[in-house]
């Protein structure tokens, strides 16, 4: 493995490996049939190096398994943030990074030529002026340097005031500690906090799904498109056919909103597909690439229409299997009063505006009208043990619920109690 490098040039390929290790945590070399053994070995060695404090090794008959032992209840950071800090660079990149920032400290303003001279006189290092200019321009593009003009001459400077202000603002540093764990793009908050030498030792997140940080590059591209109100072409890998063998297809849509599940952390792009004239959701972890297209002239109108449609949305599906526009689900529950009133609270808190009606002592009816009642089933099942009846205008939903129940009765040998 003489060609092994700990750092990498591009993120997407590694994203797949990390996701698989995180999600499945049990794949051996034989499970990666479409990769060469050398590729597998290098990827695995990198992951073990980056994530070493969290790696667990188990020895099984056909080799060793590595998995990630990550319990969000016990962690003050997202271990997968480390994956974002692995970008490779050249010797010139790192040397110029520190020397240019040092040279321009204290408000100095210099041309690329003056910077090149300064690097030689102050640090005794000779650089080609083109290399220095390229680095300064690249840093100006990233916002690390300010690029201006003095007459016809291009000059560079840097402004540290925000970094200094942030470092002395403990309240904002606490906010960064929190948002890196609980907010969007936690990786940026984490890197900022690290830059300020202020690690999080205060906040934990109960329902934290660390793996989704791996999709942040896709999210970033989508938000850029949403902010510019432009249509995008998505390259999508089918998730149905197994995570590594799915086929790639493309879809065009106008990106409108990011939907997130708090229960699985899954994120979806909700977009308008002009060809089918429908709102459709795409899983972010299945999107491989986002290509910007034309500006949409009806963006605001679509955003408002989505807002109206969301009232009838339970999850992420805008249509059902039975071809109805809307379906109604009615669930009658036994709730013993007053001891089980917390169940009523649950219905109100989690029931998304469905009506709750008391029809008899200890009996309540919950009713809701949505696009796709199939999506309600996982939630409905959480009331098992209290459901007096379930009715749905989509008969397949009703049948599936009772069929699954019968299966569970058989699985757990549940039989009618006889007195």
């Amino acid at each position: 493995m003489s060609d092994f490098h700990e750092l990498i040039g591009s993120f997407p390929k590694t994203r797949e490996y990390v996701r698989d290790f995180f999600v499945y945590g049990f794949k051996t070399r034989n499970d990666f049939k479409d990769k060469s053994p050398r590729t597998y070995d290098n990827e695995r060695r990198r992951l073990e190096s980056w994530l070493s404090p969290y790696i667990r090794k188990d020895y099984v008959s056909n080799g060793s398994n590595i998995s990630l032992a990550i319990d969000s209840n016990l962690l003050d950071t997202n271990p997968l943030f480390r994956v974002w800090k692995t970008k490779s660079f050249t010797d010139n990149d790192i040397v110029l990074h520190f020397l240019i920032l040092d040279l321009l400290r204290n408000g100095r303003t210099m041309t690329a030529e003056e910077i090149t001279d300064g690097l030689l006189t102050e640090y005794e290092i000779l650089f080609d002026i083109q290399t220095v200019r390229r680095k300064c321009n690249s840093y100006a593009k990233e916002g690390l340097l300010h690029k201006g003009k003095s007459g016809k001459t291009v000059i560079f400077s840097l402004d540290n005031s925000l970094a200094v202000q942030l470092k002395s603002n403990e309240s904002m540093l606490d906010a960064l500690a929190f948002y890196q764990m609980a907010g969007h793009f936690g990786i940026i908050g984490n890197e900022l906090a690290e830059q300020m030498d202020y690690p999080n030792r205060t906040f934990r997140v109960k329902h934290s799904f660390f793996v989704h940080t791996l999709e942040d590059e896709i999210l970033f591209d989508l938000l850029n498109a949403m902010n510019a109100e432009i249509e995008v072409q998505l390259e999508i890998k089918s998730s149905r056919n197994g995570s590594r063998s799915g086929t790639i297809h493309t879809a065009n849509c106008i990106p409108l909103q990011i939907f997130i599940s708090t229960r699985s952390g899954r994120r979806f792009l909700c977009g308008y597909v002009s060809r089918s004239k429908r709102f459709t959701c795409f899983r972010l972890d299945s999107i491989k690439r986002v290509c910007p297209m034309e500006k949409s002239e009806i963006y605001e109108e679509l955003a408002e229409q989505l807002n109206r449609n969301r009232q009838k949305l339970w999850g992420v599906s805008f249509q059902n299997d039975e071809g109805h526009h809307l379906d109604t689900l009615t669930m009658t529950l036994q709730i013993m009063e007053p001891d089980e009133n917390y169940i009523l609270e649950r219905l109100k808190r989690e029931g998304k505006g469905g009506t709750v009606t008391r029809t008899a002592p200890d009996t309540y009816v919950y009713e809701i009208e949505v696009f796709d009642c199939n999506e309600l089933l996982p939630w409905v099942r959480t009331f098992i043990g209290r459901i007096l009846s379930l009715q749905c205008s989509a008969k397949s939903v009703e049948q599936r619920f009772y069929r699954d129940l019968e299966t569970m009765y058989r699985m757990y040998h549940i039989e009618t109690e006889t007195n």
């Binding site: 499945y24 398994n65 790192i94 040092d102 470092k167 609980a182 969007h184 938000l223 043990g385």
Partner: protein
């Protein structure tokens, strides 16, 4: 703006710390720093670069290395970082941390920056509808008192309305503030003296705290919070079997990703998954397992299995009335 860029890389952070030191250091000091902050194999990459002078950032004096830089490194914020900060300033919870004046100052400093996102661009479609009252002044005051005490390891006297309706009054040391995205609420992981010099963990809903009075006393010796949490886990984890149909495996793995778990393949298409949990997680875990219906099979432990069977038995009796 690049999210995946070397300027945020681990190696740059290690070097920033090494270069910010004003004293000469030995190669062993450098090695120690890399081991503390780098990846497992970073030593193999960084040390040769420094020794060969390819990263010519230190003056050599015999065996010693002295930073060539004139002072500590302060890296300016990139446009991406500014844009991120700007977005945070519109979040409903930012008032827990920043006073109005601080918020205005930061907004002024970021006046030329567009936020990376706007709150309305995200939608949590299954979030509970009764969040903590983040705009309430008493809530904010309590939150800040807890935050301050947590950082100082300071005892606080908390007057609390328990979910059962009783009023509780105790001295606690705030250990962590725990946020739940699903509930959109904060809870306090608090340590309380349990006698014989031991501390026990209690969980309080921040919104149920009536008042907080900081005490003079501080925690005399650090407590390993994770040991306390781990000790609370049941000895026997939940044992599930998953048959990989209709993407069940991936769905379950993602759904239970926030638990400590261990999964192994035990058959052609069957997987065994152990999930570690404690009493406070039990009901929620049972509900989550039930939501999968027959896609998961609970094998053990007995207590969990019995809870599930009891619910199914009760369901059957309701249907067959």
């Amino acid at each position: 703006m690049e999210l995946f860029s070397e300027i945020y890389s681990c190696y740059y952070q290690v070097l920033r710390h090494l270069l910010s030191g004003r004293n000469a250091v030995t190669i062993q000091d450098i090695r120690n720093r890399i081991c503390d902050e780098g990846f497992e194999e970073s030593l193999l990459s960084i040390i040769p670069k420094l020794e060969s002078g390819a990263w010519d950032l230190f003056r050599r004096d015999g065996e010693l290395y002295l930073s060539k830089l004139a002072g500590p490194v302060t890296v300016p914020l990139s446009d991406l970082q500014k844009s991120y900060l700007k977005a945070l300033l519109s979040d409903s919870r930012i008032g827990l941390f920043l006073e109005k004046e601080q918020l205005e100052t930061l907004n002024d400093m970021l006046s030329g920056t567009a936020p990376l996102w706007k709150p309305e661009q995200f939608f949590y479609y299954d979030q509970f509808s009764d969040p903590d009252p983040y705009q309430d002044e008493t809530y904010r005051r309590n939150f800040r008192l807890l935050l301050h005490a947590q950082k100082k390891n300071q005892y606080v006297d908390i007057d609390y309305n328990s979910p059962g309706g009783s009023r509780v009054h105790h001295y606690y040391v705030p250990a962590r503030l725990e946020y739940s995205i699903k509930n959109d609420k904060f809870r306090l992981l608090a340590l309380k003296q349990a006698g014989h010099g031991k501390m026990k963990l209690e969980i309080l809903n921040v919104a149920r705290i009536q008042s907080i009075r900081p005490a003079e006393k501080k925690l005399s010796a650090p407590v390993d919070l994770n040991s306390v949490i781990r000790a609370s886990y049941y000895k026997e984890p939940l044992k599930l079997h998953i048959i990989n149909r209709r993407n069940a495996l991936e769905r379950a793995m993602l759904h239970f990703a926030n638990y400590e778990k261990n999964t192994t393949k035990i058959g052609e298409n069957t997987y065994e998954c152990f999930i570690y949990y404690n009493q406070s997680m039990e009901t929620e875990l049972l509900i989550e397992v039930m939501s999968f219906g027959p896609m998961l099979t609970v094998i053990g432990n007995d207590k969990f299995l019995n809870s599930l069977k009891t619910r199914l038995q009760r369901q059957m009796s309701l249907e067959r009335v």
